[in-house]
Subunit: 289 residues, 2 copies
């Protein structure tokens, strides 16, 4: 066995994983050690910088409670969450791309009928959202479940403002029939900020970044026999589309909210004068046998 | 600006540090992002593995309080503390090598006279420790301060056992005269375990490692005009010398505790029959002008 030296530091540490019986854990630890040592050798932190990092990570852990997960937020703003999501949801063919789940999904959203309005607080610019769920050959999927959620006009999700927003505001679960179509009413999303009152916010501001996410609508689309897709649809032209603080944006997920200034059509749908229309079509990939 | 993709994930994240005005911070963040993304791409964690890592780091932060710093311990057992120490204390010439400080140094250790015994609890095998402090040309250093501390026969430092050990047991500060010599009485150190009741212990055991440190004596040796050295002297032949849980061992820091079975010499020094003798000579490097 070799003793410690700067030159062989990672190799010396990895010697101690030689007896690790869990081969997957061994692989992960050896890779973590390799890359951590490369990072330290590249930046050569002073003892004070190293101590700052120790204290930063400590504060990040201590900011977490049953409502707040600051380490996930740190993973998000470093693009790690987006990367892990992408690696685990590589798409073949023309299936819809995934993006990060985020912390605002709830499991018991209300079951809705096609055409329902999920905007209970009446704020914002009305939007009519529609599209289809098909397989990768373009065949409509019967019984696909579309779980949708979004922030309100002020940039907050219902669960962030339990005393302000109606319960289950801007959430709903829709099921397709044999034509694979879906349609519902909501509001055009706005951009919003991730929480900045913790260590992640400190880093964002210290490094000249901003904490904002471009406007988007969340979806989980699933159907029996198909890989579910957890994704967003981003508003074309939204502020921060090119600098999402959590790196959720993928080119294929950007879609236009088209302004429809036609009061006849608006009234047909159930709006007053004008509204936005968003079409987004989901393509699910079959589970491979 | 590019949107997120697996291929260019690190580059997309680094775009957001373009406006960071603190150049040092920018360098550190860009390097951290590069190596974190390389790690994730190498191991391709599942969502469950990623969540385990998030929870592991969270628990590590939450284990910390005013007495316990689990993130430093994690840094220690991954060899990061040893690496940062080594990078910041690269030696030229023949100066004494440094190693990690560890969490058991106290600032107000008692001032001692040469020859004093710092072993207050009377346990263990008596040892006579001596040597010199010189500059890199071999000239003795007058007024060098030798701050020494160690664990007792049971493997605990005094501050770990405030109700068991005498206060300031096995600690002392000695000052050299113009001959640069030092000598004092103590006990031969024993190996001991780092704390294992937290996330670090979980990792140590899950990966087939052990939590032990080989027997050692801690020193901080300093003198006006010279770079201070924070180091250990390791007991030659100690258990775990080839697998120190915190990677403090360097070849040049291992020295032999020689058994002296000569009751005349023992009585002269102040011991009863036999004792161990340890010689270790410190070489300090002048501050460059």
């Amino acid at each position: 066995m070799q003793h410690f030296s700067e030159e062989f530091s990672a190799e010396v540490v990895k010697q101690q994983y030689a007896n690790c019986k869990d081969i997957r854990l061994k692989t992960i630890m050896e890779s973590a050690v390799t890359h951590l040592h490369e990072f330290v050798k590249e930046v050569e932190p002073t003892q004070e910088e190293w101590m700052y990092m120790i204290e930063y990570l400590t504060k990040t852990g201590q900011k977490c409670d049953d409502k707040r997960q600051e380490f996930i937020l740190l993973s998000d703003v470093l693009g790690i969450s987006a990367l892990v999501d992408t690696i685990n949801n590589r798409k073949t063919l023309n299936a819809t791309e995934s993006t990060v789940l985020g912390p605002f999904h709830v499991k018991n959203a209300p079951i809705k009928e096609m055409g329902d309005n999920i905007n209970y607080d009446g704020k914002g610019e009305p939007a009519y959202i529609f599209g289809s769920v098909t397989d990768t050959d373009g065949n409509p999927i019967d019984g696909a479940e579309i779980d949708v959620w979004q922030a309100n006009e002020d940039g907050f999700y219902d669960i962030q403002q339990p005393d302000v927003q109606p319960k289950m505001n801007l959430r709903g679960i829709f099921s397709t029939k044999d034509d694979g179509k879906y349609w519902f009413k909501s509001v055009k999303p706005k951009f919003y900020s991730i929480p900045t009152d913790g260590p992640v916010g400190t880093m964002i501001y210290a490094t000249g970044r901003h904490p904002n996410r471009p406007a988007h609508l969340h979806y989980i689309v699933s159907a029996e026999g198909y890989k579910p897709v957890v994704t967003h649809v981003f508003v074309k032209g939204s502020e921060y589309l090119d600098s999402d603080a959590v790196f959720g944006v993928k080119d294929s997920l950007i879609s236009e909210y088209v302004l429809i200034e036609d009061s006849m059509k608006a009234k047909e749908i159930g709006f007053e004068t004008s509204y936005y229309e968003l079409e987004f079509n989901f393509v699910l990939e079959k589970y491979s046998l």
